[in-house]
Structures are given as structure tokens and as C-alpha cells.
Symmetry: C2
Subunit: 358 residues, 2 copies
DNA sequence: CTGAAAGCGCTTACAG
DNA sequence: CTGAAAGCGCTTACAG
């Protein structure tokens, strides 16, 4: 079923069929157009995009590389990318890299061969640096979600500031010993969140005790273990800040299994605001990231680049900065012995607001 | 950067380049092959798959239509599809239909134009019936995840039996009044799970009270509301079976907010075994579905069809049946007043095993 | 307003 | 062992 079948059926040339298909305003005699439309309908004809793309040098397809769609942080980002793409007639190819160099490379080759118009790279890992140079050299547009190693267009989140705000919230409640469960330390995201923690500890004069630091790998189990280990430190922390929600969920389970009430005996803060955490009991205080918007914005940046093709050098790569927001829920409260540092009235107010970062 | 650039660089014809690229065993003089390889390397050449696919009539691309990747049931299925696809050199295009006829149609047109070799249709909805006929007519292979309206190759789950087993588990614990929170009743999945509930209620002589039935829409909020409403029935159920985990998570939150201890005052069973539920406290008793395997099996069926191209009619469409498994965790226990129906020793044993269904 | 023809980047008989 | 040429299904100047 090709365009020439349609042409035959309608008794016109393929050029005419192509015109009624693609050029709404091209002058075609109304009754000719009508006949062509009828033929298309009758044959249930779908133009072969392969042939079209080959000629037009655009596939209207983009690649999205993420570590793992099964990680609950990514589905919403993906939806954002996908919705905006689909609204503009683009299609998305998914790649789960597992942050594995081998897999990443294979996917990149595939995307290149499929002639994608652009790629969105999320979840970091050092492999992306060389990859993005390759894409760029071959004329494929690149957008990062997160802080890229070099100057690429990107969608950014104030990871450090948000982490500092989260720890500040605990300090305002009267906590002095705040445990930290970090993510994979190779990732800029982890580094930034740790930096925010450190900064806030210094700023509020909290206990600067390296026995309060743990590194997880962003999943529930690592959070469970890290929390269990933190709780055996003496004196134990009265609050724990985890660098993502999944680890915080693990920490919540660990607290429960250790017989500690949250927030009465231990306060808990996560990061990401993945959908389930507001349904935990207690619901989790966390830093909400606009995951859907991050995906949507990344696709928006790509679209912008497609249009600006050959627009000439502007002032540096486009960067979209999206706000994070501390969502205070019931997993945080004053430490067990509040008499040492009763929160002042002004501090208490700041607890219940929803600081926007930045 | 095309194959003729490589040919020029290596001082051979494009035919030769094509041969070293695609025909490992085609006789090419070793030093010629060497020169071609060098040229490819030097130019970082990637063959344009568009041109290749146009000729070969295969894009090595498949479409995956799911309701919503942000629904935690689908990421694992997607991973299964994606991993198997990628292992065999196939690429996956994602489509979030939101079970919306308009969107589904748009996606189907897109997939058809992109000349995908096959599609995997998951999550049901009536739109797929016409869609799959269209695909088939145009030579695109179709595989369903779930029970298709007509005879298509599919990956199946014993929804009814598993639901019956889950309710049977509650009956064995001594429950007589078991509330049911169903999913969208238009879906075969929901219908099957409800049928299992009904069958088990009859089989174990449980209260057959339609005031114990609620319909949700598979998300946490609807589960919360349905549970809240069920708890106001008099007498209230001593256990609730929700047709999926997200609704069960909502029900757990509702129980908590109503001051009911789980499982002491109310037992709760979900369905799906999405990753987070084992980290809830109490961890949720649920029916585990092999989500990853379901995706992997679906892609496997597709691959099988690609190979069996023109193999001639076998005996009906291929169907892969995957087992479900009741995972008994701490959210289920005997009802508050066990004296009425103390579980027997044999029943208690059945509680702690992990029945495999079928 | 319409059509004939070139060409996008490949693969593969066919001929040598 | 290697190359010239046809052709996959389209789009678009160009000519009429």
C-alpha cells in the first residue's frame, strides 16, 4: 500500500497525492483533492515515514535516556517528555541505561542510526559527556536533565539549596543531630544534595559528626540499611535526611522495625516527592521536584533547538531552572527532648509555610 | 556522512562497504575489509537505518501502548519489554494512551506511519479491538498483555483465580465480611478480579452483602475514599480486598486515619505487588504478578511472530500464561474476634505458604 | 492546477 | 572478490 496505489486509485500522479497529504494550502482542484482523500480513506493508506524522513532529514523522533524507568522518579519525567513530544508530532524512544557504559554506548549507536532529531539525557553518569559530543558532531541536538559536565542546554533543579532548606527545616524544629543518607556519590545530583546538607549543618551550627553520614544507592533497601546503621550511633540522630524518597521509605520501615515512632522519636525527610509518599503514614516530608515539568521543559528545549536551527550563536546554552519546594508533612516534628531548643514563634511559622526554592 | 563517503575514503564501491557492514561471512579480501573498517572508524560512520529499513521492510522497532507509564504497575512491564527488545536489536516506542480513544487513535496512526514491525497492547480498553484489526490488516504483528477481546496472541494472568485465592486467604484467617474495592469495571482485568472475589465469597460462605462492594479507578485516592466508605457500613468489614495495590495503599492510609490498626482491626490485601508495598508498615499482603516477565514474554511472543513469518497457520494464537502468587505479609491477620471462627491448623499452614496460581 | 523525473541512503541480484 | 545499477516510497523543484 503505497502512494502510487493511491495515485492509481484516484487517477492522479503521486505528486498530487503528496500535495494533498502535506501541503494544505497548495492549489489543487477541489474535486481532485476530494478524489484523493476518498482513495486514501478507502485504502486506509498511511504514508511511509521512513521514505519521508529519508528525504526530509528529520524523523520527528527523539531519544530519552534514563537510568531505569522502573525507578519511580523517572516515570513522571518520561510522561512530561512524552506528552509534549506527542503534542508536537514527535515520538519518543526510551533507553534504560542502568548507568552502564556498555548499554549506554549501544543505545547511543542505535539512536544515531535511527536518525533521531535530538536526545534528552537524564540521570547523569559520566558516560554522557563523550556521548553528547558525538551527538553534537553528527548534528543531533542534546538536552540534559540535571547538571551537565559541560555547557549543554539543560533543565536544572536547585538541589543544593533545596537540601539546605530541608535540613534548615529540621534545625528550626530543634534538631541538632541530623543523619544524612546520600545517593551514589559519583552523580552531581548526589554531590549537590550533600553540599546543601553540609552547608545547612554549618549555617545552623548542627552537630558536624561524620558518623552521621551514610551512602546509599537510591533504593529502599539501601535506605533501610543506612537508617538501621545510623540508629546505632551514640548518641543517635533525632532526624534523618535522605537524598531521595525511596531511601526515605526504607528508612521509615527501619525506624518502625526498631520501634521508633516517626516523628515523635525520629524525624524523616526525603527528596523527590514521588507519588506514593503522601500516602504513607506518616506521610513523608520531602522536597517536591516538578518531575513532570522537568520532562516537559526538556522536550520544550529540544523543540526550541529544532526551530532555532541555524539561528546563529546566542548567549550560551539555554538553561531552564525549575523550583523545588519543601513539602512539610507529618514525618517531621520536634526532637524527643524539645526543652533544649524550643522553636521560636518565627521558626515555627517557617515550618508550616512551603518555602519555594529558589 | 553516508556510505559513499566511506566508500570514497576507503577507495572501494558502496556495495563493498555494505557487505563488510552487514554480511560478516561475505567473501571480501581481508585487506579491503580492513581499509573499509578503518574508514568507518575514522569518519564515525553510522549507517542510516531509515534507508536500510525502507529497503528491508523492517524497522526493528516495536510500539508499546500502555495507559500511563506514571502508573507504578507499568514501569516494570516496560522494562521487561525493553530489555528483551534491546537484546534482540529492537527499539521500543512508548505510547501513553490514558485509555483515551482519541489519543490511542493518534498513536496508532503514528506507529503505522513509522512502520513498526509489531505492537504490544497493554492495559485493555475497548479501543484496541478495532486498532488490532487495522494493524493485522496492514501486516503489523500484535500481542496483548491481558485478555484480548478476540483471538490474539497474548500474555495472560490468572486474575480470577488469584483474586479467589486472596479472598480465600482471608477466609482461612476467619474473616466473614470482606469488603471489595474494584477497579474500572470496563476492563476485563477488573471483571476477572471481581469474579474471583465473588466466587470465593460463595465458596467459603462469606457474607454476600452488596454494601461491601465499591468501585475505584485504580489510584490511591479512590482506594482511600472507597475504604473510608466501607468502614462506615454496619457492621463494617473486618478485611478489605482491593483490586490493585495503589488502591490498597489508599485504603491503608484511610484505616490509619480512622484509627484502625492493620491487621489487628482490619486486614488488607492488594493486587500487583508493586515495588513499594513491601516497605510499607505493615507490609502489604498482595498478589504478586510477574510484571517484568509479562513484558519480557510479550516481547518474546512478538519476536516469535517475526521469525514465524509465513510459517502457516498453527493451532490458534500463541498464549503465554504466567503464574500469580499470593504474597502473605503483615497486613493480614485474624479478625478482631477470632473466637467465632478460629483457624484450624491446616488452614493456618495454608496462610503461610505461598500458593502459586495456577 | 498537474505530472515526469531526480534523488534521499541504503541493499542486493547480476555481471564480471 | 568487486562494482554498476535498480529500486525501496516518498517530496519537490521544474516544466507545462
Amino acid at each position: 500500500m503505497t502512494i502510487s496505489d493511491v495515485a492509481t486509485e484516484a487517477g492522479v500522479s503521486v505528486a498530487t497525492v503528496s500535495r494533498v497529504l502535506n501541503k494544505a494550502d497548495y492549489p489543487v482542484r477541489p474535486e481532485t483533492r476530494e478524489r484523493v482523500l476518498k482513495a486514501i480513506e478507502k485504502l486506509d493508506f498511511h504514508p511511509n515515514e521512513l521514505a519521508r524522513s529519508l528525504l526530509l532529514k528529520s524523523t520527528r523522533t527523539v531519544g530519552l535516556a534514563i537510568p531505569d524507568i522502573a525507578n519511580p522518579y523517572y516515570p513522571l519525567i518520561s510522561r512530561g517528555v512524552e506528552d509534549v513530544a506527542s503534542q508536537h508530532g514527535y515520538t519518543v524512544i526510551f533507553c534504560n541505561t542502568d548507568r552502564d557504559a556498555e548499554k549506554s554506548k549501544r543505545y547511543i549507536d542505535t539512536l544515531l542510526q535511527k536518525q533521531v532529531d535530538g536526545v534528552i539525557l537524564a540521570g547523569g553518569g559520566t558516560d554522557f559527556t563523550r556521548a553528547s559530543e558525538r551527538f553534537a558532531r553528527l548534528g543531533t541536538h542534546v538536552v540534559f536533565i540535571g547538571r551537565p559536565a559541560h555547557a549543554w542546554p539543560s533543565v536544572r533543579i536547585p538541589n543544593a539549596d533545596a537540601a539546605a532548606t530541608a535540613v534548615g527545616h529540621l534545625a528550626a524544629l530543634g534538631h541538632r543531630r541530623v543523619g544524612f543518607i546520600g545517593g551514589l556519590s559519583a552523580l552531581t545530583t548526589s554531590q549537590d544534595r550533600f553540599e546543601g546538607y553540609t552547608r545547612s549543618v554549618a549555617e545552623h551550627g548542627l552537630d558536624d559528626d561524620e558518623r552521621l553520614l551514610r551512602e546509599g544507592d537510591f533504593d529502599e533497601q539501601s535506605g533501610y540499611r543506612a537508617a538501621a546503621s545510623l540508629l546505632s550511633v551514640s548518641p543517635p540522630p533525632t532526624a534523618i535526611f535522605a537524598a531521595n524518597d525511596r531511601m526515605a521509605v526504607g528508612a521509615l520501615a527501619a525506624s518502625h522495625d526498631h520501634g521508633l515512632g516517626v516523628p515523635d522519636e525520629l524525624s524523616l525527610v526525603g527528596f523527590d516527592d514521588i507519588p506514593v509518599v503522601s500516602y504513607l503514614r506518616p506521610p513523608l516530608t520531602t522536597v517536591a521536584l516538578p518531575a513532570y515539568d522537568m520532562g516537559a521543559a526538556a522536550m520544550g528545549l529540544l523543540l526550541q533547538q529544532f526551530e532555532g536551527e541555524g539561528a546563529g550563536g546566542s548567549d550560551g546554552p539555554a538553561v531552564v531552572r525549575l523550583p523545588a519546594r519543601l513539602r512539610v508533612r507529618a514525618s517531621t516534628g520536634p526532637p524527643p527532648s524539645t526543652d533544649r531548643h524550643p522553636p521560636t514563634e518565627s521558626k515555627r511559622r517557617s515550618i508550616h509555610g512551603e518555602p519555594r526554592i529558589p
